[in-house]
Symmetry: C2
Subunit: 125 residues, 2 copies
């Protein structure tokens, strides 16, 4: 005895809305893949309280690693790890100054802080 697989059913009320937009597949295919990829990457790069703190600190003042590790209260390797992540995401850059590495925000990094600042989400936590 063959068993028919149930096919994809969506609630009536919603189906109407979906139809108007050309159907479910249409909607899914229309998602902005590139934008989503970039957003995902940037967000991934930032998803850690310490990295967010670094971002904000650098928005105020460029700093060497010995300063940044104080900002987030961590060891060198730990700080270095976070910095490299932020760097990979294109949010910060570094340049050598003698024995120091000076980190600062890239224009992209700056724009992100500016955005947050402008937006100031008011979420209850």
């Amino acid at each position: 005895m063959v068993r028919l697989k149930r096919r994809f059913v969506i609630p009536e009320e919603i189906r109407v809305e979906v139809e108007e937009k050309g159907g479910f597949e249409q909607i899914v295919q229309g998602l902005p893949r590139d934008e989503m990829r970039v957003v995902t990457k940037v967000i991934d790069t930032l998803s850690d309280p310490q990295r967010v703190k670094i971002l904000y600190a650098l928005a105020r003042q460029r700093m060497c690693v010995c300063m940044l590790r104080r900002v987030i209260g961590s060891s060198y390797p730990r700080c270095s790890y976070h910095l490299s992540k932020l760097k990979r995401g294109g949010l910060v850059r570094s340049e050598r100054l003698g024995n120091y590495f000076i980190y600062s925000l890239t224009p992209f990094g700056k724009s992100i802080v500016k955005h947050f600042r402008k937006y100031r989400p008011e979420v209850r936590t």
Copy 2:
């Protein structure tokens, strides 16, 4: 023989800039703690490609879980897990419609997508 602990030293060039801003401690204390906390939370809530996809899909059309799980290609529990995270972050909400749960973006969730959209970061990946 007592050994003096080296004290916190920062490169000259940078120290000048820092002084102008009232010193290192000043800068650190001046960081916008509340804003950073909220940003961290929102980002944490979103930090996953599937959750970003859900966010964008809901920006187009409210959906039940059976639709969303198709959008991200996952099982129910997995989808449910991501939704609950997004919910905790205040980005989405759900309402029951018979046997279905219809998820949609909160105003806050919408504003975030709008922001990304407006910004359209152009990062090379």
